[in-house]
Amino acid sequence: MIIESPIVLHGSIAVLSAGQQLALANDGGLKHVADVPIEVSEIRFAFTPSRATTVFNMGLFVDLGIGGYPITDGMVSLPLICPPKDSQDEVGPDSVVRHTLKLDEPMLVLPNETLRCSFWNNGAAVGADTLGVSAQMVGRRLPPGAPRPKRRVLPWFSDYVGAQQFGAVTIATQSNDVDLRNPTDQPLFVDKILARLGYNSSGAAAAAGADLYSNAKTASDLTLAMSGVTVRMADSFGNPVIRDKTPFAMAFPWQERSWRVRTWMPPRGYFIAYIEGSNTSGTVQPFIGLAGRQVVSV
């Protein structure tokens, strides 16, 4: 009888200071050294501040890759690609920020491959504060003798982080053809369009502020998501995806922070998002992303 075994690989700690980009020091923790492939279903991240202070969730970015293939389109917003079931759990009572990237299809990791992780603290911790970072891959070992596939499916994430809008301004910003894209020569299956709205009522940089979707507690925040900020979207052929101006939280459902679309994007295809609206106070920053799957050779 073949018994499949779960597996958790734990990556070592990196320390991020404000504004810093840093690769996780791979001491072998995220290198799969066994002689059978594993299927990874989740990648988890945790950020521990150097003191009990606020970690500004929307200031966290990540760049991931496996086996020489990128999983993310450079640095992408980590809260964006990890839509939570309950956002209140994102920042725990111990000030530790935890994100879980649940993959729509398990990712095959071959022996001796390493999950490449780089992080960017874009105002997530301010001043002299630093963040300790760790990552885990969670999955299962394939049974000995399992056939080695010729191709495998890897996740793909790209994002558009709009300009920060300060104070009482009219918002008019848009992504371009290098943001929400399929940069490969193969069709990309798109599972979800992801979205969050960074907001900081104090007027400081939104990236260093709370995510409106997670912290929609003041009335003005709600107006912003439900009517103040609107989105339109089209594909690379000009087909309307979101035909007319639609409140941000209406296009991207409030609870899921994502819209499950299950569609194909052609090679070199892209979406263009148009963000419009008005802000009265504080700082607003829209985040939109793609969660898809790419097929690569082994």
């Binding site: 299809e105 507690k217 439900m226 087909n239 035909r243 007319d244 939280a249 409030w254």
Partner: protein, 309 residues
């Protein structure tokens, strides 16, 4: 990849319609039409509708606590010329809330410092509906004050306010060569809004008005509760006991049972797929042991019928 491919997604939005509540007795707002042009299939290919969403925002500085608009914001809808609702149906009972707590996206502790409260409702249709070119979603939205001024236990809802309602239709494009089906499942929603004077639903409330069988998917049960002059919530947990009699004459709920146990409190629904075979066949809801008259229970029946197209 073991996935089924679908074509390009699509969102169509009718801009915010501003509805007003005057705070006057006997008020029932006039319906405003949805923007038919914005909700039309102008793409020269079929599209498919899967979901209808409603967002409600009110800019009112005098509201000091939660507001649940699911009972008083009501919609009358048709898709591709077919009726989807029987008269106006409260938007809060069209679909089950994904997460009831976050449906009302306001937070009582923080509302009031800045004027705005928002609600968000989703109706995932029982089955997707194909919209041929040149057809669309039509309808009206209204704010029905129902019994907000009916000597509620906790006071009347006397505060005048406006509510902006945005309606969004979510679906996807179909291939240009997509062959239209001979029949398709057109959704249908009908509702009974109870009140202190009538403690049972009437024959026309939860009925099949069509010549063909109506496939019932579920009942949704919620309640509009006046909390104070400036707030109202979903008070399904406060309704008290009900019984329900089925169209066949048999009891659906024979023993007086708490409202929030009949309609599962997480989903606010009673999912019991069955068929109402012909026109005029209806279910009835009876309120028992109702605690007071500041609650207005609402029970909807959601389903679909096969229509030749």
């Amino acid at each position: 990849m073991a996935v089924s491919a679908e074509t390009l997604p699509l969102v169509m939005t009718s801009p915010a319609a501003s509805l007003a509540y005057t705070g006057a007795a006997g008020f029932s707002g006039t319906g405003l039409p949805l923007d038919a042009n914005k909700l039309s299939n102008v793409f020269k290919r079929p599209i498919e509708i899967r979901e209808i969403r409603f967002a409600v925002v009110t800019p009112l500085s005098t509201l000091t606590a939660d507001m649940w608009f699911g009972g008083v914001i009501q919609a009358i809808l048709e898709i591709a010329g077919h009726s989807v609702t029987q008269d106006y149906v409260p938007v809060g009972v069209l679909g089950s809330p994904q997460q009831p707590v976050t449906e009302a996206v306001s937070d009582a502790a923080n509302v009031g410092t800045t004027p705005s409260i928002a609600n968000y409702f989703r109706w995932v249709l029982p089955k997707p509906v194909v919209l041929p070119p040149e057809t669309g979603v039509r309808g009206n939205i209204r704010l029905d004050a129902m019994n907000m001024l009916s000597n509620g236990k906790n006071g009347n809802m006397t505060t005048a306010f406006t509510a902006a309602v945005t309606t969004t239709v979510v679906g996807r494009y179909l291939d240009r060569g997509f062959k239209l089906p001979r029949t398709q499942a057109i959704p249908y929603a009908t509702a009974w809004v109870g009140n202190r004077d009538g403690t049972r639903s009437q024959q026309l409330n939860l009925t099949n008005p069509f010549e063909m069988p109506l496939q019932v998917e579920k009942f949704v049960g919620r309640a509009n509760e006046i909390v104070s002059a400036t707030s109202m919530i979903d008070g399904a947990h406060l309704v008290g006991n009900i019984t329900m009699r089925g169209a066949s004459g048999c009891d659906i709920v024979g023993v007086p049972t708490p409202f929030d146990r009949v309609f599962d409190y997480q989903t606010r629904s009673l999912r019991v797929p069955h068929t109402l075979p012909r026109k005029g066949v209806s279910h009835q809801v009876f309120l028992r042991d109702v605690q007071d008259n500041y609650l207005w229970p609402i029970v909807s029946m959601i389903g679909y019928r096969e229509v030749a197209v």
